[in-house]
């Protein structure tokens, strides 16, 4: 394999890894936001809602730059990759928290009432009845989010992270062949996202035929 092809494959793998890590941390942040949204204290709920609204209403591009410049100011000296991952995770967390919110409303309240009527403690209602169903319900949207992360990770190139887009820019700086290189890069992104899109469709088909719960 040529050096160029190797660099592109390396970049693509990096993009994939960064996206998966972003999704994992995103889920953790999303769970925290979802819990905040259920909090008894109104200010906590308001902060969570404002956070989600802000992330969804501003470009990821700007979020990445804000995090990149803000963190050193508060004493956190992170590498471009680390600050980029923070931005991606914070972004992803907001969107995934909306998926969790949707899943929670999709569960018929009667199921919770039946559990309450049976005197099952709240803790177990959450762990045994609500969460298992939420976990299954958010899988299809999560694949969509993963595709969004793969595309969004391209913006990390702006702060110098060497993922697929940055790798392409480095290659073009040497070969001066933008069209060919970008075409290959577009193809690699397309492969990853299209495959995920097919997975999403399969999962949605499973859900409607009732195989998954």
């Amino acid at each position: 394999m040529s050096a160029e092809a190797q660099a592109l494959m390396h970049g693509a793998l990096f993009t994939l890894e960064a996206s998966v890590v972003g999704a994992v941390f995103g889920i953790m942040i999303a769970v925290m936001i979802a819990l905040l949204r259920q909090a008894a204290l109104a200010p906590a709920r308001w902060i969570a809602a404002a956070y989600v609204s802000f992330i969804r209403g501003t470009p990821l591009f700007v979020q990445i730059l804000v995090v990149y410049f803000l963190l050193p100011g508060v004493g956190l000296d992170l590498s471009p990759l680390q600050s980029g991952m923070v931005a991606l995770s914070l972004n992803s967390g907001a969107y995934i928290s909306e998926m969790i919110r949707g899943a929670l409303t999709a569960i018929p309240p009667g199921q919770v009432e039946a559990a309450q009527a049976l005197a099952i403690p709240r803790r177990w209602i959450w762990l045994r009845i609500i969460l298992p169903q939420v976990a299954v319900l958010i899988v299809p949207p999560l694949t969509v989010e993963l595709a969004a992360l793969i595309k969004g990770s391209a913006l990390l190139s702006v702060v110098g992270v060497v993922e697929l887009t940055r790798s392409a820019q480095q290659i073009i700086a040497v070969t001066f062949e933008p069209l060919g290189t970008w075409a290959k890069v577009a193809f690699l992104y397309f492969l990853m996202c299209f495959a995920l899109g097919q997975l999403t469709r399969q999962l949605q088909r499973l859900k409607t035929t009732g195989l998954a719960v």
Binding site: P108, G110, Q111, E113, A114, A115, Q116, A117, L118, A119, I120, P121, W124, R128, I129, P132, Q133, V136, G210, V213
Partner: protein
């Protein structure tokens, strides 16, 4: 030795409003062990709300519910008296119109969940209780099935068994057959008749008048949040006391 005439359940001056309009007006009655009370009336009369206030799914605005002498007073709103309410619910079983089985668990898991999580019963013992109950409702062979694989009548029978798994003192049935296709109604009513024969105390909100006439000891006729009639079953169907009840029965029987 407890006084055999002390009521299992005493409801005193129960009132409940939703969004400003009163759904239950000052409702009071006693239920004794082994009594089967059928609650009938037009929709919106507060029948379901009455049941839901008894086990506090809808906490009453005013009044109290006492089970075996332990009272839970209304007016506190949801969430308070958590433990008292939970203990109350340990002795009250409820069956819903929409079954409310948990779709991601098997029938057996549905039955075992409450004894294990709410009462701390060991898994093996819970399993045995559950299988016996499934046998009792005629679904022993379906223990490994998921609710979506069962018919409506089967699901409701599972729901009844699930409530019975907690060994309640009193069973509340909220229109248990209203969501069922007509040919599936009978299997559920048969299970309920079996329960009645075995001496279970029950409050049943229903439109099934024949069931109420066969199985009910007392009939509550409710209209607009009040119990207009509390009459022994035979007398109610022969000749209701209030005009409203007569009118209701006439309309219903005219249809069927």
């Amino acid at each position: 030795m407890s006084d055999a005439r002390a009521p299992i359940l005493r409801v005193e001056r129960l009132s409940k409003s939703f969004a400003g309009s009163a759904v239950l007006h000052d409702v009071s009655f006693d239920v004794h062990q082994g009594e089967r009370i059928c609650i009938i009336g037009p929709s919106g009369s507060g029948k379901s709300t009455l049941l839901r206030c008894i086990n506090q799914l809808d906490p009453p605005d005013f009044g109290s519910v006492s089970l075996d002498g332990v009272a839970v007073a209304g007016g506190h709103g949801r969430g308070s008296n958590g433990e008292t309410i939970r203990r109350l619910r340990l002795s009250i079983g409820m069956v819903f119109q929409s079954f409310n089985l948990w779709p991601h668990m098997t029938v057996l898991q549905n039955l075992m969940e409450a004894p294990v999580r709410a009462k701390g019963v060991g898994k093996a013992e819970a399993r045995q209780i559950s299988i016996d109950l499934l046998r009792r409702v005629g679904l022993a062979d379906k223990h490994g099935a998921y609710p979506t694989q069962l018919s409506g009548g089967q699901q409701q029978r599972v729901a009844i068994a699930r409530a019975l798994a907690m060994n309640p003192r009193i069973m509340l049935f909220d229109e248990p057959t209203s969501s069922l296709d007509p040919e599936l109604v009978r299997e559920v009513l048969d299970v309920m008749k079996g329960l009645a024969r075995d001496g279970m105390t029950m409050l049943v909100v229903t439109h099934e008048l024949r069931f109420a006439a066969d199985v009910g000891d007392r009939i509550f006729f409710m209209d607009r949040g009040r119990i207009l009639e509390d009459t022994p079953a035979p007398r109610f169907f022969a000749e209701p006391t209030t005009g409203r009840a007569s009118q209701f029965l006439a309309n219903l029987i005219g249809v069927t």
